[in-house]
Symmetry: C2
Subunit: 342 residues, 2 copies
């Protein structure tokens, strides 16, 4: 198996003048630098805007900094929300990160789900899907065409362009998409993109989704490798039952906060990426919280279903948690990467 | 005096598979890392698109990488072309670079002048001015407002947003603008922005422009410091007359190429940033090419006119040139920075 991280640094506005507002960013960067040394393979970072609590907004800049401070760590976005971006500028930015990092970019993309972001950017929520699909087409062409081309889309037009610099990965950095519903998973496979599975679904459900994707990739004639599916899981290596319960409490509170921020005024927000464990039992089942033996048992279950790439979220930057997982759990599961993910 | 660098790395598409297409970027990065160690204060990097020869397009990503590899070097854009960018995304990206680098961003901005870029992005050239002005207003508000705000512009609208992360520099990173014509210089001073002077004007003309800006800043009630004006100059420390003539030849050829790429079909391109020395004598006068003594004489002239910040372009990444200037010329002129530029 391979292990990566996913999560979000924070840098809040408006603190006291003597507070280092970069502290949250710096702390996260040091955390992933240590993760690389401990054998973690990747970090996937969110993109969010106007949160009021300082989630990463300029994700590719944040990852560029991490790329310059690391050597092997893959640099993932989870996810770039395509409807916010000029797709050609985004293709240039992503290609630059890929080129400078020696081909370490994992380009996770999404259509967006937080209502307040659509309001902020004044993008109608019903355009999210078509804007997303159009942007994928442009970005793919931008990355793969060494010749000048024009693009006449519904939302974007470009005339006689060649997009520089070249990417390091050929034909281009892997696309990753999050999906949960079978139809959505099949759409990801129809594009031949890699798949991100969320941290909230049960182990059993996660296994089913993995199977749906593997089958759909085959039906579409794409080569499949387990490294093309990253299964997200919360993780916290605990020493006592009290520690475990406190961690579950923190996780449920964090979920509620994120759920609230993405809510539509009509309360109707069904994006699968925001599906979450709404009972304490479900939260305990989906999360890898507990002793090394308890966590190992869950990893065994994932591995038995074919899953070989787990993306871990510690809900913060606890070095102790990062180290305990790497030293007490990872050695029994980790194999050298056969090839770069994707 | 203070000395910085300006220029452009290149990473061309479509090379042979065994060619490292990142070589141009990497070479430039190593060049500026050495420059920092040698006492240069800053690097200003261009933004260009669709060139066919691989000029830097994702300038803030490129600078982010440089920022992570350096400690004190100021990270300048020369210039971000505002009409291409969603101003809020750009404000977020720039704030992220500023925050991660500990406040080292110098935010050079421009309205664009290359016809083929306007064509590529399908932005009417006559909108360049108003788009530029509107973007400055949004970006300034985005950086300075800790409270949510809405913006109703002609080209961009945003609703109930707060732009994260905060910048490290307060109230925000300095804006820099290039200008040559007195009216343009007075517009820069009306905003209180810093000034970039081009490398092609004669020493005498450069001195006049400096004076125009200093007077206009005073008239507008802004504090003035010589570090707010960066005077660009080509530089090449030569050992022989042959070396000097070859360097002038290369410079004239490079100017012609850049002039051609920015040309409008009607041949009418008057952007002052593209003004260039059209005779060999003018080129020799404006450029600091020659022996250390010849270059020192030109620096003396600039200093006598009040100019204390020179941005050097070696037309490549010659380490020998970089080192000779730093060791044989800089010590007689360089002072410790009184404060960060801007």
């Amino acid at each position: 198996m391979q292990f990566g991280l996913f999560g979000a640094a924070q840098a809040q506005r408006g603190g006291a003048p003597d507070v280092d507002s970069a502290a949250g960013f710096k702390d996260y960067i040091e955390y992933v630098i240590e993760a690389e040394a401990l054998g973690y393979q990747s970090v996937f970072v969110v993109e969010h805007h106007f949160t009021g609590f300082g989630q990463v907004s300029a994700t590719l800049n944040f990852l560029t900094w991490i790329g310059a401070r690391t050597r092997t760590l893959r640099l993932g976005t989870a996810v770039m929300v395509l409807p916010w971006h000029n797709p050609v500028l985004l293709a240039e930015q992503a290609a630059t990160v890929d080129l400078l990092s020696g081909g370490r970019l994992d380009f996770g993309i999404g259509k967006g789900y937080r209502h307040n972001e659509f309001v902020g950017f004044k993008v109608p929520m019903e355009e999210a899907g078509p804007r997303f699909e159009e942007a994928i087409d442009i970005i793919t062409q931008a990355w793969t065409s060494n010749e000048r081309f024009s693009f006449q889309g519904k939302y974007w037009q470009f005339d006689d362009i060649v997009v520089e610099p070249p990417t390091a990965q050929k034909p281009h950095p892997p696309f990753w998409q999050g999906a949960g519903h079978p139809d959505s998973i099949r759409k990801v496979a129809a594009r031949g993109h890699n798949l991100l599975l969320d941290q909230f679904a049960s182990l059993e459900e996660t296994g089913k989704r993995f199977q749906t994707y593997r089958d759909a990739m085959a039906e579409n004639g794409f080569a499949f490798h387990p490294s093309m599916v990253g299964a997200a899981r919360a993780f916290f290596v605990t020493r006592t039952q009290d520690e475990k319960e406190a961690a579950v409490d923190r996780r449920i509170a964090a979920q509620r906060r994120l759920h609230a921020i993405s809510q539509r005024p009509d309360g109707n927000n069904k994006a699968s990426i925001m599906a979450y464990s709404d009972t304490r039992d479900a939260s305990e089942e989906s999360a890898m919280y507990g002793t090394p033996d308890e966590i190992a048992a869950k990893l065994e279950t994932l591995r038995s279903m074919g899953i070989e790439y787990v993306l871990l979220n510690g809900g913060g930057t606890s070095r102790d948690n990062l180290r305990r997982f790497a030293k007490e759990i990872m050695p029994a599961f980790r194999t050298e990467p056969e090839r770069a993910a994707g």
